[in-house]
Symmetry: C2
Subunit: 342 residues, 2 copies
DNA sequence: CTGAAAGCGCTTACAG
DNA sequence: CTGAAAGCGCTTACAG
């Protein structure tokens, strides 16, 4: 009939492992075992502890566990954007790979900002994560230093790492940019424009691939490049198409660094009465759902974003477990989707 | 010249508050104050502690702080989807409202599943959150019970709560569905179809509004309703449009429960040579970015999703701080965007 | 298969 | 403005 737990002091009033143990008539550590290593406890004890847990409404305290075990079961994920469907797909892949394990995801949105990345990482490191998933290969000096200092496994997503030993999952953004440009060249185009926005690492690598292909064909011309730092959007794509045509009126094809911009470019063509692809070929990058459905359907690069998240999380889990992964780098490739617009 | 910290035992080897304090020549609790309540410490001490922190690369241990203070500084957010742009906008609003406070967001994706919601909540409750943000008004009995048992403030987003005392931020999904239907009726349409997918709480309320308006006008007809549980997508919208026309060939207008379905419906009309809005009016819900740009532009309801997240987080923060909010319910309204498609 | 003791790294009253 | 002691709720070696 006596109340279990401290009468006074800082206790929360909630059931604790100790109260569960008392209720079940075992020691705290046996109660702990019954919950975390059920095989190492007798059937009777396991049942009594389970009953106590149910009757007391016991909820384990994760902070206490993390402190005592020096294992947080936390995985940090940093993505540059949440409004970009590419990264939400990556997150879904990660969530599916983490599955019903006991890991907790700490999802940070860096908004394409190095300063924000530093700030978020600083805060998340206080949770002593077991591993970290990043969306870029290069980072500020401070971030690089924090990553090294914390000493936990890191996997970079989206592109492939150049440096050996660095774990990465993705595909060559440069090769994909090259392949799309080559496709346009093979179609007979010589005046091929490149429209880039945000100018994040991935866009810059795609632009590298574009320049490489144009250079190889002797078609390079700086006036065919239109690069702005603003965030990508349909509206921006519409605006940039106008600017591209003003800047290079003889442009025959436009390679947009992502589908949002390409959609905007095509909508703009429709409004201005420019026939796609007859007067102007337009292509994008990522293959968002609308791309296959719009008229004309959009020629673009299908990217394995969901799988990138899934495989990256798998690789990280393996690294956390101390396994030596079969490879430090996983190339998931890309697919050129040739459709009506180019 | 002696090494600070324990020689042996379970210590992590990382700098602790104790080692910082020793390095600065103060007690641990003075070091703690220097970091958390800098005003209550002398300038000299503050400077010495700051120096020690820098030299040792000290990173506070959040688990220890949470355990000692019984305050996690964690806020749990549960959304039904990450691929739905509506909820990523809600998340961005929340992130902006939380800002640079010391709160940590635990973002869970329930995938429109009650079972998943239960599971996630059970795990997240182990982190002793200070508050919870939910995307629905109604939940499974088990979730309702867990919510009550944990005793922390909860704010429901998207729709407005019926029950008094329940904190909610959003707009009346039913009223919005009613307004859109009424708009179509006022345009002279009598055979107005409703296409719904996923059949989550919000869609069902919009359907309620549709039925109410149709009923008021004496136009109700079950054959005009097409409701399926599949996840919304452009492809599904295209398919459901076909089914709607097969089921109700005399249909003059179609109200899609969200823009993704509406986009798919319009693309399907284009492929089948059905003129929108002349032969068939189509409207959607949410006003996604593409809706204003596509041809024809989409008539839809603009929903304040970013602000819902922002205001909900603000309300939750106030509740956590123990303030009595000016209102338990914040109605952010909606705007009907009349465009070309209907 | 089970347990008594110590400790994880902080913060909270309580003093002075 | 500063500090010695206790405690948050769990897990880790170490025994038996």
């Amino acid at each position: 009939m006596s109340i279990t737990g401290s009468i006074k002091g800082r206790s929360s009033g909630k059931a604790t492992l100790a109260s569960v143990a008392a209720h079940a008539g075992v020691s705290a550590m046996t109660a702990s075992r019954a919950l975390n290593q059920p095989d190492r406890v007798s059937d009777a004890v396991r049942a009594r502890v389970a009953l106590a847990v149910a009757e007391l409404g016991y909820v384990p305290n994760r902070a206490a566990r993390a402190l005592a075990s020096a294992q947080s079961n936390v995985i940090v994920v940093l993505v540059p954007s949440l409004s970009n469907a590419v990264f939400t797909a990556v997150l879904e892949g990660i969530q599916d790979a983490i599955g019903s394990g006991n890991y907790q995801l700490l999802i940070g949105n860096t908004r394409y900002s190095d300063a924000e990345e530093e700030k978020l990482l600083g805060i998340y490191l206080q949770s002593n994560p077991d591993g970290i998933l990043l969306s870029s290969l290069s980072h500020s000096a401070r971030v690089t230093q924090m990553l090294a200092a914390c000493g936990v496994p890191v996997v970079s997503m989206m592109d492939l790492a150049g440096a050996p030993g660095q774990l990465s999952v993705g595909f060559s953004q440069c090769d994909a940019g090259h392949a799309m440009t080559r496709y346009l060249i093979d179609k007979g185009h010589t005046r091929i424009g490149f429209i880039g926005a945000q100018l994040d690492e991935r866009t810059l690598r795609r632009a590298d691939g574009y320049r490489k292909a144009m250079g190889e064909a002797g078609l390079l011309d700086a006036r065919l490049e239109l690069m702005v730092g603003d965030p990508s959007s349909i509206a921006l794509g519409a605006e940039l198409l106008q600017r591209m045509l003003a800047q290079a009126p003889d442009c025959e094809a436009v390679f947009c660094c992502n589908d949002d911009l390409a959609h905007g470019a095509i909508y703009q063509c429709q409004r201005r009465g420019i026939a796609v692809p007859q007067q102007l070929a337009v292509c994008g990058f990522n293959d968002l759902p609308a791309s296959a459905w719009m008229t004309p359907s959009l020629t673009t690069i299908d990217t394995p974003r969901y799988r990138i998240g899934f495989e990256a999380a798998g690789l990280l889990l393996a690294a956390i477990a101390g396994e030596t992964p079969p490879a430090t780098q996983i190339d998931l490739g890309f697919t050129l989707m040739a459709r009506e617009s180019a």
